[in-house]
């Protein structure tokens, strides 16, 4: 078990190293650096000004050297300005240039400085991850039980009318990406002109010119309410739940045809007891894996939803960082994403073994 964990951590590190290098390479192409210079120091710079800005901020070294600096295996760049002050990668963090450390990279626990937010990357990421954490928490609270209930109800009597309609619902939900369901939800519930709200106003349930739900989730940063968080949460949960429900249904139908279920039926156990006590436990093994693997897939939806509902979380930061080519923020964000992907894979593998004692890790 320990060896298995060690190997997985090793693969994880190798993957993270490869991926961050790819991100580093793609964000440090000359054309991208030019964009960065222009967004930082004015859009109307000449080529010479761009060049001098890049030199002044340490972007002129070879790419591999700077990747080494970012990792913290090579000493950070330093440069003496014309007026005698020292500038450098590691100097910007401390007040006294002389006390600055030689190397500062992720090995030293320094994630870099965000050019878009003008703050340390670690501060930006941790603050925004918290916001996304709340969103994800509610998504999981809504999505998982809903998906399991749909899947179990559909799978316990294969081919019945309930099964057909719930399966079609699950298929429809996988066919509705977040940017479609988000748009539909906002039009239906968050508009004062069309949808449900004018109807409710006309029969006096809602004051004139107010929408039922809020189409902007920014206020949820201070206080999460039913009215500002329902639409974003539902938007992500709807797309994610279809797949889980289908896997649950498949797993449930398989379990329901097994011998021990037939035995239980012949013994005269009631149908609800069979489903709840006998079938459910075995039917939930496969969905567990899928739920864990589904979490990183939600990131896509998180970015779309946070941009659509202007909720400043991790996805929104990713979007802003990508648009402004904020190199170190993008690198940190991709590291977070990779760690989430690999960690959920690991948890799903280990959990699978605990849930299903027939499988042993070799």
């Amino acid at each position: 078990m320990l060896l298995f964990l060690l190997r997985r951590v090793g693969v994880m590190l190798a993957t993270a190293l490869c991926l961050t290098f790819v991100v580093f390479y793609l964000t440090n192409l000359p054309a991208k650096l030019e964009t960065l210079a222009k967004t930082q120091a004015g859009a109307r710079m000449t080529d010479a000004e761009v060049q001098s800005w890049l030199v002044r901020n340490g972007y002129d070294q070879p790419m591999l050297v700077r990747y080494g600096e970012w990792l913290g295996v090579l000493p950070g760049w330093t440069r003496e300005e014309d007026d005698g002050t020292m500038r450098g990668r590691c100097i910007a963090r401390v007040d006294d240039p002389a006390a600055a450390p030689d190397r500062c990279g992720i090995l030293q626990g320094y994630l870099g400085h965000s050019t878009r937010f003008r703050a340390p990357v670690s501060d930006v990421i941790s603050a925004r991850l918290g916001a996304t954490g709340w969103l994800m928490l509610w998504v999981v609270i809504v999505m998982v039980p809903m998906a399991l209930i749909v899947g179990i109800l559909a799978g316990m009597r294969e081919g019945s009318r309930t099964d057909r309609s719930l399966s079609t619902f699950a298929i429809a939900s996988t066919a509705t990406p977040e940017y479609v369901s988000g748009v539909i939800f906002i039009a239906l519930f968050a508009s004062t002109v069309v949808g449900v709200s004018p109807l409710l106003s006309s029969i006096g349930l809602l004051p004139e010119n107010t929408a039922l739900f809020q189409g902007n989730a920014r206020s949820a940063l201070e206080r999460i309410t039913f009215w500002n968080f329902t639409l974003p949460v539902m938007t992500i949960a709807l797309y994610g739940m279809g797949y889980i429900a289908r896997i649950t249904r498949a797993s449930m139908t398989e379990v329901m045809t097994q011998q021990y279920i037939r035995t239980a039926r012949l013994k005269g156990v009631s149908f609800s007891n069979i489903v709840l006590k006998h079938a459910l436990r075995n039917a939930l093994i496969a969905p567990f894996t899928v739920i864990m693997l589904q979490i990183p897939w939600l990131l896509n939806g998180v970015v779309v939803v946070e941009v659509l509902f202007s909720y400043p979380g991790f996805g929104w930061v990713l979007f802003e960082a990508a648009v402004n080519n904020d190199i170190e923020l993008l690198l940190a964000a991709s590291m977070v994403a990779v760690v989430v992907v690999l960690l959920t894979q690991l948890i799903s593998d280990i959990g699978y073994v605990f849930l299903n004692p027939r499988i042993r890790i070799s």
């Binding site: 693969v11 993957t15 490869c18 066919a175 970015v303 992907v341």
Partner: protein
């Protein structure tokens, strides 16, 4: 002129789609009559879900085909005073012979939403199936040997596939589909590598089968080479001497990114199926006969893996459509004028709460196409399991 009522709008839209209805009725009549002779495709008409899915997909396919007849206006033309027009609003001072109404209203730049949605179908259906196909060929070409030969090759390929899969799709799109990247050689190099795989695939396919009949082999492989490299030169390097094949840098960039995201998943599926099938008796029989590994992979294993692969192909076209929509939604890799559904949803976002029809029309179109593809896949799965 008075704006049209909803009843009129629906009637007129149905009328505009007349070529599609005719084509649909013909397709269904012919298919249902001859369904017993049409194999898996014919069996599709035994399942209600499959039929509904096929009808939706065929609807959009014919719409893309006949888009020029269906669209009422030029998708790029701006009607005077038609900014954010409501569905059914009449054109002000319509030109002689032009259609007098904006059936589904106008967008923020006063263009006809109905025509844009119809033309958008063409944009999507030009890329999505083709990208899914290339992803499949790459996934098959790498997944078969990984599953069949195994060993170090398998370990290496699986690591690379997992690497790509660990990359959040959206981050990859942000990084890979950007104007700055288009200026570099990256998309061309990636296209050069990705597009050569189908050519190699068909070459190996025919060579492994006919290498004992050199004459036949030379004809097939020669044809593949001529045709393949003709298309290859146009698609990957935009250097087709005859100018038939070609892709704008924008589109090439989008295409490469979408294929890159999809291929590893296909690889994993094919690898899994291959590992399952290679233990079967007919594979052992072929091995005893002394067949080469490529023959066994391409002519023994692949045909027997077709069921799940066809189902996944349908799903993948749908997923590719969603990915293309995501790209458009973030304004990546598409020209601002493009009528594709993702970017029209993005355009309509700013006025979503006052004029929701701008974003709703393309959103519902995209959803219905993906739903159709998913239902079709479900029907195919059901029917192929019955065998």
């Amino acid at each position: 002129m008075e704006p049209l009522s909803w009843f009129d709008i629906i009637g007129r839209i149905l009328w505009q789609f007349m070529p599609v209805w005719i084509a649909l009725v013909l397709t269904f009549a012919l298919s249902i009559t001859y369904r017993r002779k049409l194999g898996l495709y014919g069996k599709l008409f035994d399942s209600r879900i499959g039929m509904v899915g096929f009808a939706i997909v065929a609807f959009w396919l014919f719409t893309a085909l006949f888009a020029d007849f269906i669209a009422t206006h030029d998708p790029l033309a701006q009607g005077r005073g038609m900014r954010n027009a409501w569905p059914g609003d009449p054109m002000r001072r319509a030109a002689e012979g032009a259609y007098e109404y904006y059936l589904l209203g106008g967008d923020t730049r006063a263009r006809d939403i109905f025509s844009r949605a119809v033309m958008g179908a063409r944009e999507v259906l030009m890329i999505a199936p083709f990208a899914a196909m290339i992803s499949f060929m790459i996934g098959i070409s790498l997944g078969l040997p990984a599953g069949y030969i195994g060993g170090r090759l398998d370990t290496g390929l699986t690591f690379v596939a997992n690497l790509v899969l660990a990359f959040p799709v959206i981050l990859l799109f942000f990084l890979l589909v950007a104007p700055e990247i288009q200026a570099t050689a990256i998309p061309t190099v990636m296209a050069g590598v990705l597009f050569v795989v189908p050519v190699l695939f068909f070459m190996v396919l025919f060579n492994s089968r006919y290498y004992i009949q050199p004459f036949k082999r030379n004809i097939y492989v020669g044809l593949v080479l001529i045709f393949g490299f003709w298309a290859y030169s146009g698609l990957a390097f935009n250097a087709d001497p005859l100018g038939f094949w070609g892709m704008s840098p924008n589109m090439l960039n989008v295409f490469v990114a979408v294929v890159f995201v999809n291929a590893p998943t296909v690889f994993r599926i094919v690898r899994g199926i291959t590992m399952d099938i290679k233990t079967r008796d007919y594979v052992a029989a072929a091995q005893t006969r002394g067949e080469g590994p490529w023959y066994i992979m391409l002519w023994e294993i692949l045909p027997n893996a077709r069921g799940p692969l066809i189902v996944d192909f349908c799903l993948r076209i749908g997923y590719t459509t969603i990915l293309l929509g995501t790209l458009g939604f973030f304004g990546l890799g598409v020209s601002p004028e493009s009528p594709d559904w993702g970017s029209t949803i993005n355009d309509g976002r700013s006025v979503l709460r006052s004029h929701p029809h701008l974003a709703l029309v393309p959103a519902l179109s995209l959803m219905s196409l993906v739903l159709g593809l998913n239902l079709l896949a479900d029907g195919l799965r059901e029917e192929s399991l019955k065998d």
